[in-house]
C-alpha cells in the first residue's frame, strides 16, 4: 500500500477541536480532516441540549447547531472533510492508514493534528458487578439513542457520577420521559449541586446520593434495581430502576497517540504537550479533550485555534516541543499542558487546565520548582470535582528554564 495521498496538514477527528483547527488553518495551507462518523461535529452532534458555544462562538447554542456551525466554518475556510472514514493506524511518522467506503488508503502529511476526543468509562471499566441486563448506558449512548434515533429508554433511571455531564444525562432522560430517581456520586452532596449551573434549575429536583457508589446491578433481562453503598458507613440501599446511566469518568481516545509511541501524561492519559500543543513527536500535535478529559466544547475548539501557530511554525521552521515539565500534586489529578516555556508562548486562553478530586472553595494555587514556591495566585472560582479547574498560567511566569520539574498544588 503506497502513500496514496499527501497533504500539508492532516487532522484526525472532526469534533469541535479538529474542525476549529481546520477552520483556522485552511486559509493558508491544504488541510484534510478525517472523521469516522458519517458527519463531522463530534460529541455535540449527539447532544441536543443547550450549553454550547459560550467562549468560542460567543453565544449559547444547542449541541447539533454548534457542531454544524464548526463544520460549516471548516468547509467555508477551504478545509476538506473526509467523513465516514476512519484512521486505523500509523504507517509512518506522519502517515496513517484510512478505511472508507472508497477503499483503504494511506495519507501522509507534513503535520498531523490528533483531535480524537474522549469517551466515558462504561460500566465494565468501572468494574460494577452484578447481572448483565439491558438498560445500562453511558451518556454518549443515551444521547445517541434519544437524540439521533428517538428511542425509548425507560421510566426510572439511576445516574452514576457527579460531573457536569451527569446533569446532561438527567436532561436527556427527562426529555425521553424517564425520571431520574437518584444521582449517585462519590462526592459530597453539595459539591454535586455546585456543579450544576448551566443546565437550568428545574432538573435540581433529582435526589443526589453523595459519598456513595453503585456496587451492584440487578435484573436478568432488564435492569430491576441497583445496590448503592455509602462510602462512610458501608450501608447498602436497593434502588428500584429500569435504566442506569454511567456518566463522565473520562478516558481519552488515545489509541492512535499510544500506537505512535507518544509520551502520555499519567494523569490525563492523553499526550503530554507543551503550551503550543506540540507532542514529543516532531510534527505531531494534539488538541481538544484528548488532552484534558473532559472540558467543555468551546475550550476544545479554542485549542483548535491555538495550535495553529505551532503548526505553521513547524511547517516553516520545524519547531519541536519545549518547556519545563509541569506536574500535578494531589488532590489535583492532572494539569495540562505538561510543558511550559518560561517567557515563551502562553497556553490557550492563558490558562492551565486541571482536575481536582476534592472541593476547595477559594483555592490558592502554588507553583513549586525544586521545592521553592515560584508562583502563587488565588482564584475567585472554586476548584470543584467533576469539571475542569482553570489556573491562570501567570503563576508560571517566574519558572526558571534551566531548573527542574514544576509542581502545581492547591491550598485552601
Amino acid at each position: 500500500m503506497a502513500e496514496d495521498r499527501h497533504v500539508a496538514v492532516l487532522v484526525v477527528g472532526g469534533g469541535p477541536s479538529g474542525l476549529a483547527c481546520a477552520a483556522s488553518l485552511a486559509g493558508s495551507c491544504e488541510v484534510l480532516v478525517v472523521e469516522r462518523e458519517q458527519r463531522a461535529g463530534g460529541i455535540p452532534r449527539h447532544s441536543d441540549h443547550t450549553g454550547y458555544g459560550l467562549r468560542d462562538r460567543r453565544r449559547l447554542m444547542r449541541g447539533p447547531a454548534y457542531a454544524e456551525a464548526w463544520r460549516t466554518a471548516a468547509l467555508d475556510a477551504g478545509a476538506e472533510l473526509l467523513e465516514g472514514a476512519m484512521v486505523t493506524g500509523w504507517t509512518g511518522d506522519r502517515e496513517v492508514s484510512v478505511t472508507s467506503p472508497a477503499g483503504r488508503f494511506r495519507v501522509g502529511a507534513d503535520a498531523v493534528v490528533l483531535a480524537t476526543g474522549v469517551r466515558e468509562r462504561p460500566r465494565s471499566a468501572r468494574r460494577i458487578p452484578g447481572d448483565r441486563p439491558d438498560g445500562v448506558l453511558t451518556t454518549g449512548q443515551l444521547q445517541n439513542l434519544v437524540h439521533l434515533r428517538h428511542h425509548e429508554v425507560g421510566h426510572a433511571a439511576v445516574v452514576v457520577g457527579g460531573e457536569l455531564v451527569s446533569w446532561s444525562a438527567v436532561l436527556t432522560l427527562r426529555e425521553a420521559g424517564c425520571r431520574t430517581v437518584a444521582m449517585v456520586t462519590p462526592y459530597a452532596k453539595a459539591e454535586a449541586y455546585a456543579l450544576f449551573r448551566w443546565a437550568g434549575r428545574a432538573a435540581l429536583r433529582v435526589p443526589v446520593v453523595g459519598h456513595s457508589d453503585v456496587v451492584r446491578i440487578e435484573g436478568r433481562v432488564r435492569v430491576r434495581s441497583v445496590v448503592v453503598r455509602d462510602r462512610a458507613t458501608g450501608a447498602e440501599t436497593t434502588v428500584a430502576c429500569d435504566t442506569v446511566v454511567t456518566t463522565g469518568d473520562w478516558i481519552p481516545d488515545h489509541e492512535l497517540a499510544r500506537s505512535r509511541g507518544l509520551e502520555l501524561d499519567p494523569g490525563t492519559r492523553g499526550p503530554a504537550v507543551d503550551a503550543a500543543l506540540r507532542t514529543d513527536a516532531p510534527g505531531v500535535f494534539a488538541v481538544g479533550n484528548l488532552l484534558h478529559p473532559a472540558d467543555t466544547a468551546d475550550v476544545a475548539a479554542l485549542d483548535g485555534a491555538h495550535v495553529v501557530a505551532a503548526v505553521r511554525d513547524w511547517l516553516d521552521r520545524g519547531g519541536t516541543r519545549r518547556g519545563v515539565r509541569i506536574a500535578a500534586e494531589p488532590p489535583l489529578r492532572w494539569v495540562s499542558p505538561q510543558y511550559v516555556e518560561p517567557g515563551g508562548e502562553p497556553p490557550a486562553r492563558e490558562r492551565l487546565l486541571s482536575w481536582t478530586d476534592t472541593l476547595v472553595r477559594r483555592p490558592v494555587v502554588e507553583a513549586l520548582q525544586d521545592g521553592r514556591v515560584v508562583g502563587r495566585c488565588r482564584t475567585w472560582w472554586p476548584a470543584a470535582p467533576g469539571r475542569v479547574f482553570r489556573i491562570p498560567s501567570g503563576i508560571l511566569d517566574d519558572v526558571d528554564a534551566t531548573r527542574g520539574e514544576v509542581t502545581v498544588r492547591l491550598r485552601a
Partner: protein, 472 residues
Amino acid sequence: MTYDVAVIGAGIVGSAIARGLAGSELSVALVEARSDVGDGTSKANTAILHTGFDASPGTLESRLVARGYHLLGEYAEATGIPVERTGAVLVAWNDEELAVLPGLKEKAEANGYHACAIVDADEVYGLVPALAPGARGGLRVPGEAIICTWTTNLALATDARRRGAALLTDHRVESVTVGDGSRAAVTEGATVLHTTRGDIAATWVVNAAGLGADQLDAAFGHRRFTVTPRRGELFVFDKLARPMVPLIVLPVPSSRGKGVLVSPTIYGNVMLGPTAEDLTDRTATGTSEAGFEFLWEKGRALMPQLLEEEVTASYAGLRAAIDRPDYLVDLDPDQRYVLVGGIRSTGLTSGMAVAEHVLELLTEAGLDCSPRADLPPPPRMPNLGEAGIRPYQDDARIAADPAYGTVVCFCERVTAGEIRDALASNLPPADLDGLRRRTRAMNGRCQGFYCGAAVTACLEQGAVPEEVAGRG
C-alpha cells in the same frame, strides 16, 4: 412428524452432535430453550483450544479432548473459525509448584502429548516479559491455542441446519413421555418431548442440555448425577494490553480446577480469570464484588502492569460440574436415549469428539449414522479474529463492496457489511447479544458510547439503515 433423533441443547456439544447426525440420512431436530444457539456456557468460557496435556490419563475426557483438539482444529481451517496457535506456558511461583512440573510433563505424555518442555525462569521471562517478578520456572505447552467460541458454536449449528437439521429455538423441554418403542401409537412409540412451544416426537433423544442435563435425565427416570454450577468470572482487558501477553499464561493446576490464567483473546484483548465457585442457582451468570476483588488480587500477583489498562468487559460462565471426575456419556437402548453429561471445563475443545463418540454409540445400537453422499460443504464463517485479515483491512473486499469500508463499531472496527451479513445469515441473531457474538459490534472499549444506538437500530430493522450504512 417424528424425528429420528432429537438433540436437546444447542451449545457446542449439542450443535456438534446435531451436525454429525444430520450428515446421515436421519432426520434431526436440535431443540433449544433459548432464542439463540450458543447462549449458555458455550458463550462464556476462556476459549482455549486445549491439547488435553493436563487431563487425567485414561478418562473419556482425556481421550475426547485430545481427539477434539484435532477435529476442531481441522474444522476451524475448513470453516474459517479463527484460531491463533499462541502456545502456553505454565508458571511455577514456588518450590512446591516447581516440583510439580516434571509430573505434569509425564502426565502430558501419558495423555499422548509429547511437546511439553520444562523451562527455567529466564526463559519464562523471555516469553512473557511483563510477568510479575518471582517466577521460578515453567512448563511450555506449545500446542495450546486460542479460538473463537462464538464462531465455533455458530459454525456447528449453521452446518447442522444446512445439512437439514431442524433448529427449534425457544423450545424448552419441560417434561418427557418416554416412548415404548412400539409402532402402535400416533407417535409410533416415539419419545415425546413436551416443550414450551408444543410437543416434539423423536425415536431417539440425545440429552446435551449442559447445566440442565441432570434435570432432563431425571425426566427419563434416572437418578445418577447432579450438576453443580461452578461459576467462573472473567475480566477482559483493553486491546492496548495485548502486547504484554503474547501467549497463554497458566497457573499450576490445583484440585480446584485450572486456576486463574492470563491469556490473549482471539479478538486481540487480554483475559484474566476464571474464578471457581460452586453455586446452587443454575442461572447465576452475574458477576460479584468478591469475584472481582479476587481476580484483581490475582492480577496484581501475576502481572501488575496489566491492571493499569482499562477493563473492556467482565462476565461469568457456569461450568456444569458433576459429582464424578469424568464426562458421563451413556446410551440407554431401551429408552433409546443418550445422556451427554458433565462436560465441564473442556467442552469447547472436545465437542466435536463427543459428537463422534455419540455417533459411534448410536451406530453400535443399530442406528445407521453413516454419512450421506450429497453433503453441503461446511459454511464459511466471517473472521472475527485479529490474526486474520478483517474486512476493514481488506482493500479488494471494500472495492467489491463498499459496505466493508464503512466502520460502524469503531473500537472493534466492525463494518456495515459484516452487520448486514450477520442479519441476513442462515442463522440470524435473536437479540443484541446475538449480534455482538456474530460481529463483535459493541464489544469494544467504549461499550456502545458511539455505536450502541446504531447497532440497536440495525437489529430492530433487521438490516443496516441507510444513515448507518453511509455512502457504502
